[in-house]
C-alpha cells in the first residue's frame, strides 16, 4: 500500500501544472471555509500575540502598540519572579501528574478486577471530573476553611494539623495540588480502564494458566500493553497541568507568600491586573513553547513505541 501511494504522484508528475495556472482545486475550495475559520480563531491570534510580545501595549484611547523589539523577552529571561514561578509549576506538575497517574492506574486496576457493582463504582469514581474546576476550588476552600471546614476540623481533631490549611505556604501548596489530583485522577482511571477493556483476555488467561502471579502479569504484560494509553493520558494531563489556574484563583490566588503562584497565575496577574499586555504575551508564548516541546516529547515516545510494536 505504501508503495502505491508513493508511486502514484510520481506517475502523474509530468502532467502537473504550476499552482496558479491550475487554479484552486475542488478539494481546496471545500477546505477553504475550514481553513478560514482556523485562521480566524488560531493563526491570526497567534500572530497577534507574537506582535504583542514585541510591543508595549497601551489601552487608553484604544489599543495601540509601540514597538519595543525584544525588550519583553529580555525582561522575561532576567525576571527572577518568573523563574521561581516556573520552578513552582514544575514541582506542581511532577507532584500532581505523578499522583494522578499512580492513583488513576491503581483505581482502574481495582475497578477492572471488580465483578459486582462495577458500573456504579465507575460512575461514582468519575464524578469529580464532571465538576467545573471553579466549583472544585470553591468546594476546596469551603472544606479547608479553618472556621467551618470539614477537613480542617478533621485534621485538627486528629492532631495532624492545626494551622490554617490555605494560610501556610507548604500546606497551601499541598492542598491545591491535592484538589487537582482529586478532580483529574478519575480521567486517568477512565483512560486506563478503556485500555484494560481492550486488552486481549486470552494473553492474560494464558499467563495465569502458566502460573504467573498477579504482580508478574501486571509488570510484564498489562503495563507494557498499556504503555501507549498511559502516554496519551500523561500527555493530556501534562498539557492541562501547565495551565492549572481555576482552583488556585479560587483558593489562594497565588499566596501565601507566593507559594502557589505558578506560571499561569503570574501570567493572569501581569495581563489582567497590571495590564502589562506586551510582557504577558511573552510569558504566554513561553508557556506555549513549553507545552509544544512537552507534547512533542510524548508524541515521539509514542511513535517510537508504535515503531517497535510494528
Amino acid at each position: 500500500m505504501a508503495v502505491t501511494t508513493q508511486k502514484a504522484p510520481a506517475a502523474s508528475a509530468p502532467h502537473r501544472r504550476p499552482l496558479l495556472r491550475r487554479g484552486i482545486s475542488f478539494e481546496a475550495k471545500m477546505l477553504a471555509p475550514a481553513i478560514l475559520v482556523l485562521a480566524a480563531v488560531s493563526i491570526f491570534p497567534f500572530v497577534y500575540i507574537i506582535v504583542m510580545s514585541l510591543s508595549q501595549v497601551k489601552l487608553i484611547g484604544g489599543i495601540s502598540f509601540d514597538w519595543v523589539g525584544l525588550d519583553n523577552w529580555s525582561r522575561l529571561i532576567s525576571d527572577n519572579a518568573v523563574w521561581v514561578s516556573w520552578l513552582r509549576s514544575i514541582v506542581f506538575f511532577v507532584l500532581s501528574v505523578g499522583l494522578e497517574m499512580f492513583l488513576g492506574i491503581g483505581i482502574a486496576l481495582a475497578i477492572y478486577e471488580t465483578r459486582r457493582g462495577r458500573n456504579i463504582i465507575t460512575s461514582l469514581v468519575l464524578m469529580p471530573m464532571f465538576m467545573a474546576p471553579v466549583i472544585v476550588g470553591l468546594l476546596g476552600r469551603f472544606l479547608t476553611d479553618s472556621t467551618y471546614g470539614l477537613y480542617a476540623w478533621l485534621l485538627d481533631q486528629t492532631g495532624l494539623y492545626n494551622g490554617d490549611i490555605l494560610g501556610s505556604t507548604t500546606s497551601a501548596f499541598i492542598a491545591v495540588t491535592l484538589m487537582d489530583v482529586w478532580e483529574w485522577t478519575p480521567l486517568i482511571a477512565l483512560i486506563v480502564l478503556a485500555g484494560l477493556s481492550s486488552m486481549p483476555k486470552a494473553v492474560l488467561e494464558a499467563a495465569e494458566m502458566d502460573g504467573a502471579s498477579y504482580w508478574a502479569r501486571l509488570r510484564d504484560i498489562v503495563l507494557p500493553m498499556l504503555s501507549g494509553v498511559l502516554i496519551v493520558a500523561l500527555l493530556i494531563r501534562s498539557m492541562d497541568a501547565i495551565r492549572y489556574f481555576d482552583i488556585i484563583t479560587n483558593t489562594t490566588n497565588g499566596g501565601p507568600a507566593d507559594a502557589t503562584k505558578i506560571i499561569p497565575i503570574r501570567l493572569y496577574e501581569t495581563a489582567f491586573r497590571f495590564f502589562d499586555l506586551g510582557y504577558a504575551a511573552a510569558i504566554g508564548l513561553s508557556m506555549l513553547a513549553v507545552t509544544i516541546v512537552m507534547a512533542n516529547l510524548f508524541l515521539r515516545i509514542l511513535n517510537k513505541r508504535k515503531g517497535l510494536a510494528q
Binding site: 476553611d145 494551622g163 505556604t169 507566593d258 491586573r273 497590571f274
Partner: protein
Amino acid sequence: MAYLEHVTRREALLRAGVGAAALALPGTLSACGGSGKQPPTPVSTDEWRQFAGTTLNFISENTAPTSAIAANLKPFKDLTGIDVKFSQLELTALVQKVALDFASGLGAYHVVYADPYQVLAPYHAAIADLNTFNDDPNLPKIRDLKDFIPTQLDAAGRFVDRTKLYALPYDAPTLIWMYRKDIFEKHRGRMQDDLGFDPFPSDSSTWEQFYEISSWIRKNASGDVPYGSGHQAKQHDSLMNDFSNVLWAYGGDYFANGQDVGRYGSDDPGTPLLDRPESIAGAEMYRKLVSIAHPASTGWDWAGLAEAFMAGQVAMGAEWHEFAAGIEKSKIAGKVGYARLPRGPKRSANMYGGTGIAINAVTPIREQKAAWLFVNWATSPETQLSNLKSKVGGGTPTRQSIYRLPEVEAARKPPSAMPNVLTTDAVFEAWTPQNIGLRPKIAAWNECDTVIFTELSKMLSGSQSPEDCMRNAKNGFEGAIGRAAALRKQ
C-alpha cells in the same frame, strides 16, 4: 418638548406626580435635619424626562448600594423613563472589564463603579468630567455638592486636577475596630487589673494595647472565644488594607505627602518611603499583631475575617464598617462594639475604601447625559436613605445630611433597623482628615498593591524580616511606577 405631543393623560398625571414628589423631597429632608438653609432645588420633569426610553448599562462591584438600587429601580424609571441594566461583579473582574471597555472604545458601560485606585487613577482619561453636566443648564444639578463628606468627595471623585470631578461618592466602607462588647464587659475588671488599662476602646487606645488585649483573651478567656484577634492577612488586597492602618499609625507612609497623594492622587508620587525606620517599625508591629492572632488570619480576606468574627472565633479585628449589616443579623447581633482604630506613636489611621460612580466618556454624549441623570439620582439623599433602609442593601451613605435625619439618628442605638448606622460615631471619627487612611491614588497602584501584599505575606510566613519586606516593597514600587509611566507615555 416634542415628546409631550405623545404623552397620554395618564402619563402626564404620573409625571406631574413624580415632579411634585421630587420637588417635595428636598424640603422634607431639610425639615428632617438637613442643612435647612438651602432653598429647594427646582426640579422639572422635563429635565429628568428628556432621555426617556434610553437604556443604560451600569457596571458595579457587588456592593450593598448597587444591590439596593437594583432591587428598587422603579423610582428612577418613573422619574426618567430610563432603564438601567446592572452588571455586578467582584472588584478584580470589574477592573478588567472596565479597562478593556475603555480600550475597545465600544462604551459598553455607561455608568462605572470607579474605584479611585484601580479604575479612576489609571483610566481617568476615559472618564467624563462631571462638571460638564453639572454646569449644563438643560440638566439637573447635583443637590448640594458640599453635603458629600469632603475627604470622600476628593478621594473618590478627583484625580490630580482639582478642578475636575470624575465621580460622585457612592459608598464609603472604612476599616474600624470591631470588638465583642459582651466579652470585654465580662472581663473588664480582670483585664484592667492584669494589663493596667481599661480595655474598652478610647481615644488613647494603642496598637500595643490591642496586642495585649488579644494576648490576654487568648490566655484567659478562650472559653468564651478561642482567639483575641483576627486579621485579614491573606495574600490579597485585604492584607495591604489591614497593614496600612498600622503603617500610618507608626508614622510610616508609602510616599512623602502621603495624605495628599491619597486624597487628590498624583502623576509623580516621588520616591517610596517604605524603607524608612517608621515604616519598618509599622511592619514589625504588624507582624507582632498577626503572631498573636487566630492562625487562620493569613488565609482570611475581609469576608473570611467577618465570617470568623460572626462564628465567634475571634473577639476583635479591623473590619469594613459596612459588615455591621451582616454582623447585626448573626448570632453575635447586639454584642458588638464599634470604634475608631487604635493609634500608634503618630496617629490613628483608618483605611477608607469608598468608591464613586462615574460616566464613561467613550459613550455617545446623549447617553452620557442620560447616565448623568442616573449618577445624580443614585447619589441623591433620597436614594442614599432608601439604600440604607433596604433589606437587600444596607448602604454606607456618603452625604452628611443623611446621618442627621431623625430616623437615622434614632437607629444609632441597638436594636437598629439600619445596622450600618450603629458605626456612625466610629466612622465619623475615622473620616476626619487627621484619622482617615488614604492609600496612594496613583496609576501604578494595581501593581504596587500586589507588591506590598506579596512582600507582607512573605514576611508573615517567616521567609523575610520586616526590614527586608519593606526594602523589597520599595524596590517593587519603583519598578511598578516606572513601568506604569512608560505605559502612559504618549
